[in-house]
Every structure is written in C-alpha cells, then in structure tokens.
Amino acid sequence: MAEESVGERNRSNAFVVSARKRTLQKVAKTAGEGMLFSVAFLVAVIVLFIFYFVARDAIPFFQIRGFSEFFTSSNWYPADEPGEFGALAIIYGSLMVTLGSAMIAVPMGVAAAICLSDILPFSIRQYAKPVIEMLAAIPSVAFGFFALVVLAPLMQDHGGPLLMWAWWILVSPFLLLAVIVIADLLTANIKEEKRRQRRHWMLLIFLGLFSMILMFKVGFVLNGIQILTGTNALNVSLILSFMALPTIVSVSEDALQAVGRDIREGSYALGATRAETIIKTILPAASSGILAAVILGIMRALGETMVVWMASGNSSHIPQPWFNYLEAIRTLTATIAGDMGEADQVTGSARFHVLFAMGLLLLIISFISNLVSERIVVRQRKILSGQ
C-alpha cells in the first residue's frame, strides 16, 4: 500500500521540476557542454601545435639551404661533408607509391563495398565485413616482413609469369564485358531480326578474337619481363593497397548502407535493374562517403612508414622511365625514419632540419587533400539536393 502511494506521488510530480533540480540541471548542462567543448578545442590545439613545432624546425632548413635544391635536385647525400639535400626523387617516390596503391585499392575497395552492401546476402556480409576489417589489425611490420621475405623473392624469381597472370585475371572480365556491350550497341539499330542476330554473332566472334589476341600479346610481353629487384615500387604499392583496403571497404560500405532502403526501392519501382540502381542511384548518393573513404585510404598509404622502409629498397632516384614501378624507390616517411638516428640536433644542423622539412611537406600534402575532399563533399551535397 505504502509503495503504491509513493509511486502515485511521483507520478503526479513527473512534469513539475523543482527550482533546485532546475539549477542542478543547468549546471550539469554547462559542465557537460564545457567539457565537450574543451576536448574538441584541445584536439584542434594539438593539431595547431603539431603544425607549429614541425614548422619551427623545418623553416631553418630552408633558411640554410634555400628552396630550389630541396625541390629540384635528386642528389640525396645528407651524410656527406658538405651534404646534399635534394629531395625531388624522394617526393616523387612518395607520390608514386601512393598513386600506385590507390590505383589498386580504390577500384577493389569500392567494388568490394558494393558487393558487400548490395549484392551479397546479409548472412554472408555479416561474416565477410569483420574478416576484411581484420586486415587493419595486422601490424605494419608484419606486412613489411612479408613484403621483404616472401613477396620480394617471389617477384624476382617469377616476376614475368606473375605479371602475366595478374594481367589476364584482371583484364579478362573487363574485355568480355566490353565485347558484349560493344556488339550489342553496334547492332542495336538494325531492324530486321535475323540480320541483326547474324551481325551480332559476327561482331562477337571478331571482337572476341581481337581481344584474345590483345590479351595474349600483352601477356607474353609481360611474361618476358625480368624483375631485377623485388623491393620495388610495385611491391610497396601492393602491400600498401592491402593496408588501405579495410579502411576503404569499411567506410564506403557504411556510406552505401546509409543511402537507405527507400531510395533503392524507389529506383526498382521505376523499373530500373539492379545494375542501373547501383550505378545511377546508389553510387551518386553515396559518393561523398565513398570519397571520404578513398581519401582516408590514400592518407594511410602516404603516411605508412614501416612497410615502405622495409620493402621499397630505399634508393633515392627517379625510376627510368618515370613510370617504371619495378625499380626501387624511396619515400618521405622512410627517409625520416631511416635518417633520424644520425641527424642529431647537436651534430648536424641542416641534416636535422631537412627531416622536419619533409615532415612539414607530408603534413601540407595531407592537409590539402583533406581540404579538397571536404570541398568535393560539400559540392556533391549541393548537387544532390538539387541546388
């Protein structure tokens, strides 16, 4: 009985807040907001501090040596007396492996995300996504060790055949698709059914043969390539793309999921096929999220150090010819890691500051790409909302 009456009293007072309670709530609200604000503020301040401290030690380098040597020469001899600090080849190497890993990881990652979110049944997705995300948990030194001890010798011993098979496996589905689509398009205008079918078959056979020849010709050229050194830009790009994949897959899959069932069903209701729905509706709607995923993945590749230090060969020269991914390269991150030991503040000044100059350059690159992606996301949103 007593309990019931207490309950009733509480219920009757449920919407009436005492003055004391209100002040308490106000204090709690201000305190909570203040704490959140200070945490956010702290993060921003930390970023500024990093910029400040890196720049503070980077600027003396440019005061001592000027800008032109750093950006135009590829003579990297920091240990010599007097030293040379041309970082062009090193900057180029960084961009090269970043681009290479993006070219592998972005199409694969986005395709995998589409497959996970729109093609595979839910029961498989439940297991597949955590497994892909597991890739992110592998420490980079393990990746580097694999690249140095397994992948590098493999490339040296069976480089040509490996490249040939990779070419065949990657290109054959695209060629098949292209042949079918081109044949369809070229015969679409022919009215008479029998003639159209005959023409269609002829085109299929002709284009098929042509693409087969293309595939085999290029394949055999690749088969003849002898990879001289396994610690090269291709090796690093491959490993970096594996490291960037989980980020790209996971974040893009979230973006695709966020598009929502209503939009998908709307598209189907208008008579679109699944392919049309994915390409014309879901991908544009999720494009800002996918772009964010891509930028995150690329940043991962640009900033990665251990793998690059172990598997890139670390030779500071621009490959001959410039697009040759089968030569050893050197990156900014690996140079900072590798030259840190000797470049003591007390023993060599330009040598010490040049590493900070490289760090500053990396910071600026990532800052700019973040800004650019932000801009694109904003613009995309405007377009999508029809403004």
């Binding site: 590098a152 050194t229 670390n314």
Partner: protein
C-alpha cells in the same frame, strides 16, 4: 577497485624505482654489428657477476647519441666517434673513451649463384659509384647489378666508405638501402644480381663471399692483416670506466670473452 588500482600503482612505482636505483644494470646501445657480441658477452657477464646488461641495437650513430644523452652507459660502435659527436659530448659534459674489443672484416657478399669470385677495390668502388652497372663488366653474367648499402647511421656503412670507396665518394642514387646486417643478408641471399657488405660475423652459407684484391676474408686473414677491409669494433664509455662497467669492458681480454668473440666470427685484438 580504485583501492586495488592504487595498490597496483604503488607497487609498480616501487618496482620502477628500484630498477632505476639499482646500479647493477648496464645499458648498452649502438651498432648492429657489435650486437651479437655484446649480447653473448652480456649473457655471460650476467651469469658471472649477477649484473644485468640491457643490449639494444640501433646503429652506431644512435649509440653515440645515447651515450651523449646519457641514456646508455656503454655505446657500441663499429666506427670511431666523429669530431662533431665528440664536440657534442663535451658540450654535455660527457667524455667519451674508446675501448677496442675486437676486429671485424667487412665481407663483400653476392648471391650464391653468382659466378664472380673476386673483385678489386677499384671495381667495388665503381660498382658503388654507379659507373659499373652490369655483372659482365666484372666477369659475371649479363645482368644489371643491384647495389645494396646500409642506412646513413650505420657504422658499417661509414667503415665501408672509409676502407673501400673513399670517404668523399657519393654512392649512386639507385643503390638500395637496408637498415641492418641481417636485412642486407636477406636481400643478397634472395636477389640473384645483388651485391652488399656485411660484418664477417654475419656471413653464413646463404650468401657467397667475394675476395677483395684476391684475398678472402677469414679470421686468419683479418688477424694477419692480409685482408685489408678490416676495422676495429669499439665500446665507448663516459670517462675511464670503473666498477661493473670496467668489468664488462675488460671481458674481451679474458679467456672466456675471447672464446665468445671468436665463436661469433669476430677477431680478437
């Protein structure tokens, strides 16, 4: 819960405190070449005197830096300290004293399948300068040479330049850089057209040693001076050592210490 954490923290701080207060721990940092010797000596030393020795291998340059900063008691180096390093040490009130513990031959190594048996110093110089780029120019197969060097804070790299190519020579930009003796060995043993250099103690059957000016490096040829690419290995201390530090430095003079050093492929002084 909080009580437990506090208790844990108390004990941890106690443990850390004793670890630092304990003079019976020596910290040794530096050359990856000296690393194996230092580790074996340390194990023996701990057994004999009950003094713990922590050995890290971060390169000669880092060893010097650690000694200057006071973060190690003994710096292992495969080269002498540079003038700049000594000046920096003096500035911080550190007086580095060198002790030679052993000699080491610097072996030029190639892939076991490489037919080249001997190279002259001039040929090695040209290979590292980038003027010789194909093995057939020095009597090998027709294949481009993959040149492998060490990173800039390696004492082995400095000794190599000093003893073989000349200090002021610039090694070709297309030379690959590896960060330890072990990594160089791995790369050379798996790359058919590679050339690299290793401390003699690291050489095993996975790589082939090339003679330099017709002399193969071995304990004998290093000792009698006929193999010219030879350098002393140093332990540096702050001032003249005393106590356990002195005991450790003197270890290479004892019979057991000498046995440990020659067992690892290095040469007693």
């Amino acid at each position: 819960m909080i009580k437990k954490l506090l208790l844990l923290g108390f004990f941890l701080s106690f443990a850390v405190g004793t670890a630092y207060a304990d003079v019976k721990t020596l910290v040794l940092d530096g050359s990856t070449t000296v690393g194996p010797v230092a580790k074996s000596l340390a194990t023996y030393f701990t057994k004999k005197y009950g003094v713990r020795v922590m050995v890290s291998e971060s390169g000669s340059g880092n060893g010097a830096k650690s000694l200057i900063n006071g973060s190690c008691t003994i710096a292992a180096m495969s080269r002498t300290m540079k003038d700049a390093e000594i000046a920096a040490a003096r500035k911080k009130g550190v007086n580095p004293v060198a002790h030679v513990i052993a000699f080491d031959g610097l072996a030029m190594v190639v892939h076991p399948g490489n037919p080249v048996r001997s190279l002259s110093k001039a040929q090695i110089s040209s290979i590292y300068r980038g003027t010789i780029t194909n093995w057939k120019e020095v009597g090998g197969a027709n294949a481009r040479i993959v040149v492998i060097q060490r990173e800039s804070n390696s004492g082995t790299q400095e000794s190599f330049k000093e003893l073989v190519t000349g200090k002021s020579m610039q090694i070709t930009g297309s030379a690959e850089t590896q960060s330890s003796n072990g990594a160089v060995k791995t790369r050379v043993s798996t790359t058919p057209s590679a050339i690299g250099f290793l401390g003699l103690g690291f050489v095993d059957r996975s790589v082939k040693v090339s003679a330099v000016n017709g002399v193969l490096p071995s304990i004998k040829t290093v000792k009698n001076g006929s193999y010219k690419v030879t350098r002393p290995l140093y332990l540096y201390t702050n001032g003249q050592p005393s106590g356990p530090v002195k005991q450790f430095i003197d270890l290479p003079n004892t019979v057991e210490g000498k046995a440990i050093i020659s067992e690892l492929g290095f040469v007693n002084r």
